[in-house]
Structure formats: C-alpha cells, structure tokens
C-alpha cells in the first residue's frame, strides 16, 4: 500500500508568478518570502515524494457558475495551465497519476462524497505555483499529481467540518492505494486576505498565527467556525485556508502524528499574509 509521508502548505498569489518569471527572488520585497522555502527544499530532497495530491481552489479558469462544483477531483493524464487573463506567464503541464485519481474517485464516492470527476482540467496558478516554489530548480517538478478543487468562489462553500471529513477520506484512500509510491498532500491557499469591498486589504495575523499553531497540534480547531465566520476573521479570500484544513485532516489518518519540519509566516506579499508549512508523518 502507498505511504502518506507528509504534507505541504503554501499561499499562492498571481504576483509570485511574475516575480518568478522576472527572477526577483533576491529583491528586498520578495527575499523573506522565497528564503522561507529553503529548509523545505532540503527536506523534500531527502524524502522525495513521488505523487502529490493537491488541494487548491480554482480562480475562474476551469470552472464557471454554470457548473460550479463543491469538490472536483482530477482524472487527467496531463494537467495544463492556461491564460488566466492577467498576464502571469503560463507554466508547463504536469503529469497526472491516473491510478491514484480513480482509486480516490472510487473510494470517495463509496464514502458518500459527491464529487465531480474531471478527465480534462485546466489548472491555474493555485495549482502550478506551489510546484515552482517547492521545486525551484526544475522546469517541471519531479512528481505526478492529483488535483482536488474546493469551491471558494460561490457561497455556500462546503463547511469546514465537511472539508475536514473530505481530507480524512482522502488520507484513508491514499493509504489503501495498491502502490509502493510515496504520497504527499499539498495545500495551496490562504492565509488571511481580502481583495474586494471597502474592507479590501484586511489581514488578521493574530488569527493566522492561531490557525498555523492549530495545524500542528489541534487540527480540528477551525472547524468550530462557519464559513462566514472565517470570512469575518480571515477575509473573503482567507477562506482558502480550507485547503490547509483538508491537507492536515488527511495526515490525521496516517502514522502516529506529525512533526513540523518547517513553517514560515510573512506579510505582506501582494495583499496577502503568506504562510508556509511542511509536516512529516511520524511512524
């Protein structure tokens, strides 16, 4: 059976794509953000995951309001990036892991998750940028992926409680996959930020720090809040922390617990408080 060896989480921001394309990593504005990844690079070089299950939220590239899924699971051989309309350079395609995709789909539907299955799925910066951030030396990250999209576009969003259960079901399914591959779960999103409205620019670092702490030692903490309560605290786009919650919930099903390999919290990048976290599953 496959091993679930750990989890990664990072913010995603279109501006990161531009900074990468222009090579601005050592500029004062960007350096504290990019430098945060160095310890994680070293760890990834040691543990070498084969497959990543990526929890991310589409930003209006692949999904529109005519057919807006709550949870969508990729089942494509190849995931293509595309023009998102705001001038981020397109990133190369990433290979899918079809065996794991269909195993997840079968297990999740048996577990009463009403997912959408996507045999074609354009992936936006939220799916592509983390691969560049965690494997900066590679044109294409040396992993296969299964993207899982969670709706953050239209309310009602799935509740934090439901997202937590999804994460746990994904964790169990990974570990019942008949494969000797090493799998990690990755969360792309958050932390507190709000792009629109008179409250644009809202950041809540006190909440973010509580949330980051909970990700290590009290993973269910944020499930006490409704999605609108999360918006109130963390901003309209702060609900992207649901991705972190799914990732962390998956790890609750593996081994005896987690060890924090590294974390970083830095703000502001664009309008966002950025977070970074790497967790290793303990035997």
């Amino acid at each position: 059976m496959a091993q679930l060896i750990g989890g990664l989480a990072t913010s995603h921001i279109p501006a990161i794509g531009k900074a990468l394309a222009k090579g601005l990593q050592q500029e004062p504005y960007w350096k504290p953000f990019f430098d945060g990844f160095a310890p994680v690079h070293q760890w990834l070089g040691e543990v070498k995951p084969d497959v990543l299950v990526i929890f991310y939220n589409d930003h209006g590239l692949n999904f529109f309001l005519d057919k807006m899924p709550t949870f969508a699971v990729g089942a494509a051989a190849e995931y293509h990036n595309a023009d998102e309309g705001w001038g981020i350079p397109q990133l190369p395609s990433t290979a899918g892991e079809l065996g794991l995709s269909w195993h997840l789909i079968n297990q999740l539907i048996a577990d009463e998750f009403d997912i959408v299955t996507c045999q074609e799925m354009l992936v936006d910066h939220a799916c592509t940028l983390p691969l560049k951030l965690f494997w900066p030396g590679h044109e294409v990250a040396p992993v296969q992926i299964v993207p899982i999209n969670i709706n953050t576009v239209q309310f009602p969003l799935p509740t934090a409680k439901r997202v937590y259960k999804l994460g746990q079901a994904v964790g169990r399914a990974i570990q019942s996959w008949d494969s000797d591959k090493k799998v990690m779960v990755l969360a792309s999103g958050g932390l507190s930020h709000q792009l629109e409205g008179e409250r644009a620019g809202h950041i809540n670092s006190q909440f973010d720090k509580q949330f980051l702490q909970s990700m290590v030692s009290n993973p269910e903490w944020v499930t006490q809040f409704s999605d609108l309560e999360i918006v109130e605290k963390a901003g309209t786009q702060g609900v992207e922390l649901l991705m972190w919650l799914a990732m962390r919930a998956a790890l609750t099903t593996a081994g005896s617990g987690v060890r924090q390999v590294h974390s970083n919290y830095y703000l502001p990048i664009s309008n966002t408080a950025t977070g970074l976290l790497a967790l290793e599953t303990l035997a």
Partner: protein
C-alpha cells in the same frame, strides 16, 4: 444559510449575488482568452450587449470602479480578469476601493506586520 452574519465592507458572493451578476461574471470569465479581451477593448459596448449585461452592469464596467462592479453582482475572482485588461494589480484595486493612494494602501498592508 442559517449563519447570519453581516461583515462591514464585505459582500459574500451568495445565491442572490450569483443570480444578479451572472451575465457580468460570464463576460469576465470570457476574458481568460486573449481574443475575447481584444474584442472587448475594440468595442466594449458591443461586447457588453453580446453578454446581455444590464444597465447597472454596463455603467459599472464603464466606470471601472470595483465597488460598483461588486454592487452589480460581480465576483472578485472573475472581476480580476477584467482588471487584468487594464494592467491593474491588487494594490491598485485595493487603493481604489478604500479611497486611498496606492502608497497609503501598501503602507497599511505592511503595517499588519507589526500587529
């Protein structure tokens, strides 16, 4: 939703907003494609009519004011593609919505680091 919260300066994009803004957001979704962005720039009025925008939505698009676009049912994720046509970044948009200069808006963001 039973969870009834009002958050100042914030319009959660719920069913009521989704209905109101459908045509506007569909037009903005089309801006994922360069050819569509070009067609809009070449003749904004014709492009808006093609997508069936109502008068409030057309006026909001003409004004390029994000708060008006939100009031007309716009969703932040799709509106960002409209902003992209004009090369506006998130700090430009934040400044516009909060009535600050871009510098002041960025200083406000940076100040959170001391929170």
């Amino acid at each position: 939703m039973s969870q009834k919260i009002t958050i100042p300066g914030t319009t959660p994009f719920d069913g009521a907003e989704a209905m109101k803004g459908y045509a506007l957001n569909k037009m903005c979704f089309s801006f994922n494609h360069q050819a569509n962005r070009d067609a809009f720039v070449a003749d904004p009025e014709a492009y808006m009519s093609q997508y069936g925008l109502n008068e409030q939505q057309k006026a909001a698009i003409r004004s390029k004011q994000v708060l008006e676009l939100i009031a007309a049912g716009g969703n932040a994720y799709y509106l960002a593609k409209f902003a992209g046509i004009f090369g506006l970044d998130m700090q430009d948009i934040g400044a516009q919505q909060t009535g600050m200069s871009k510098e002041a808006f960025m200083a406000k963001l940076a100040a959170y680091a001391q929170q």
